[in-house]
């Protein structure tokens, strides 16, 4: 069995498994990740309350699961938040298939202005992209993650990060031609 080391009990490692762990440092995790993750989730969920639920679900999975918290909790949390937030987005799309969404309140021009409207349009276009593409773009241009970190978060090759980013930007420019202006 090339490349495998048996555990002391003779078992074969398969995936990361449950190990005794110290009590997690919740305040540190919260301080380091919570706020940014809520903002990350909000790109998909529309409302902050749902975004916070998604993030709390991710914390719950992290701290209650078998994940080895000392390895890279940030990447794990990002991945879980993206999955959860996109799941919310899919559910909302399903709902939308059955029930027309009520019109969302629009900020008055003097509050949001043209720039805010443009940003909202961009976010809407971003949500319409394929999941991988939108995730790569959000991680790249909101969290400023490196290609390596994005690849780890999404579990894809670094080459895929580049291609998703490139395709995503191309699609955005197709959806909103004026962004090239």
């Amino acid at each position: 069995m090339a490349g495998l080391e048996r555990t002391p009990t003779g078992e074969l490692p398969i995936v990361e498994r449950s190990v005794p762990a110290a009590r997690p440092d919740l305040p540190a995790l919260y301080e380091a990740h919570y706020r940014r993750l809520v903002k990350l989730a909000s790109f998909y969920t529309d409302d902050t309350e749902t975004a916070e639920e998604v993030v709390q679900d991710a914390f719950l999975k992290l701290l209650n699961g078998n994940y080895r918290i000392e390895s890279n909790p940030g990447a794990y949390l990002r991945s879980m938040v993206l999955n959860g937030a996109r799941s919310q987005l899919r559910k909302r799309r399903v709902r939308r298939d059955y029930v027309p969404e009520s019109p969302r309140p629009v900020d008055a021009a003097e509050i949001g202005g043209v720039a805010a409207a443009a940003s909202a349009e961009m976010i809407k276009a971003l949500r319409s992209l394929p999941e991988k593409q939108s995730a790569v773009l959000v991680l790249r241009y909101y969290l400023d993650l490196s290609e390596a970190d994005i690849a780890e978060t999404l579990g894809i090759a670094r080459g895929s990060v580049k291609s998703h980013a490139s395709r995503g930007l191309a699609k955005l420019s197709n959806l909103i031609p004026e962004v090239q202006a």
Partner: protein, 560 residues
Amino acid sequence: MTGRFFGADGTSKDPQLDPFSERRVAERLRSALADHAEQVEPAPNSYLTLSTRLEEAGALAPKPSGRPGGRLLAAAAMTLVALGAGAFVVSQGRTGDLNAVGGDGADNATAVTVPADPTTTIIPSTTTVPAEAPATTPTSEAPVTVALSASVVEKVTLPSAVDAATAAADFVHLLGMPGGARFEGDDGAVAMLPLDQGDQPLARISVAGPEDEVVVTSATSDTVQISDVFVDGDELVVLGQAIVFEAVVEVHLVGADGTRIASTWTSVANCCEDLSPFEARLSTFGVGEGFVVAHGDSAGSGVVSPFSAVPVKFDAGADDTTYTVFRIRPDDSDQGLNLRDLPGTDEGIVLATLPPGETGIKRLPVMPALVGDSYWWRVRTTEGIEGWVHSWFLTPDSSNLSDEDLVRAGQDAIATINSAEFEDVHYANLSLRVPVALGWIGDPLTVRGPQLIDGAFWTEASSWSVPEATYGESEKVISLRSLLDPPDSSDTAPIITAGPSPIYGFEQEWVERYFAGTRAVTIVGSDDDGSELRRSMMLFYEAGPTGPRLVGAVASIFVP
């Protein structure tokens, strides 16, 4: 498949922006994301909310280190808490019976079609089932035709309860509807109310009878109603009307022992204001009694939906199922399923340890014991040893899965895989033939394998660090969809074969151990022109009540 184009050299021909335009779009995007993020701030009490939630789920305690039974119970408890089921406690070791009686219970209950003679078959029809299905019976044996019948009945025997509220809670638990709720009422009807806002009942569960013989009637609600249950062909048809948030009604047939025998879902036209009619069809099996239950989709929120339930008897032919020891977790230290003299792990002694793959285990006609949120079954081994085992670890003997069923399941899996977009296939490392994924479906707590969500396999990227991939380098896989070349109009259809769980390359020990008792579908994807085998996936199925049930997967990449 999306519109992807690849040239002869494999390079993408997707439209690209020139670098200048790309930078411009990227800056606009960055600005828009920043604008949006500025408007979002977590609630001021978010830390308190988070820590309370984690505390309630036990997530802030040190993780358990060892005993599998303890871990299972911890997992079960966590699940229970996560579902908000802490509202009631299910006790063990009760000996009496609780009778569930059909009919409408509450004042404003929906009328349920109950024949004059409650045990009269409503509409008989025919279905085909094997004459007998012991472990060694080949599926090619001639089946016999038996009539499927079903009827709404007065009384279904359930595990006992000591009072009306407990009976209602146990009843709800048996239906698979636990969650944050409280129970209020007296002898007449117990209202199941949400924990936070109590005015709108989730269900009214009628309770009657003397104190020493608590009797529960069918559950009704204002917003999900079952109006009729009858047989059509080989299906149980459930008619009703509902107001459900997600416009989806889930309908189940739940056995009197808590086994979910059949499930389906259907949509309603109007989700949120008026009662809309629905019709659901369930494929049932075996002979027994239980409940038809209908409820809305909680959208994964853990919030209990309003529901209704009616007791039924059904008969779809004899059930001589024997079982195989199957779901032994990889981290079980005892490497087998303990057969105990008492249900649960807290009391009694281990009579025997049944190794994975042990077949021919017969379930005895004894009421299962509810321990925590799990059922323990009284069984007899082929050696005649009788005792209690945790029902999660038994699966029907797999001989009743035909190759045709499995190939069909494989085709469905491919269709499912390909129904969603995935664009990473062409970037995977094809240099070595290595296993890149192994996991349990729907068992995130132990191995965190792929889960079937929204019609596609998804898993948590971080949990798929497979140390042996590429002989030492960790490789993480976010989706099993990436492991097949999805066939489309330009691809050659993949080769699908079915058979017993095979020895599978150098990971044979895993397959033999973890997928014992299952049968496998091997799917081999080929290159676009069919000349080169490139990837394979092995899907493992156990015999489910209504057909093959996917329980695990192994995927490999072939050496080109």
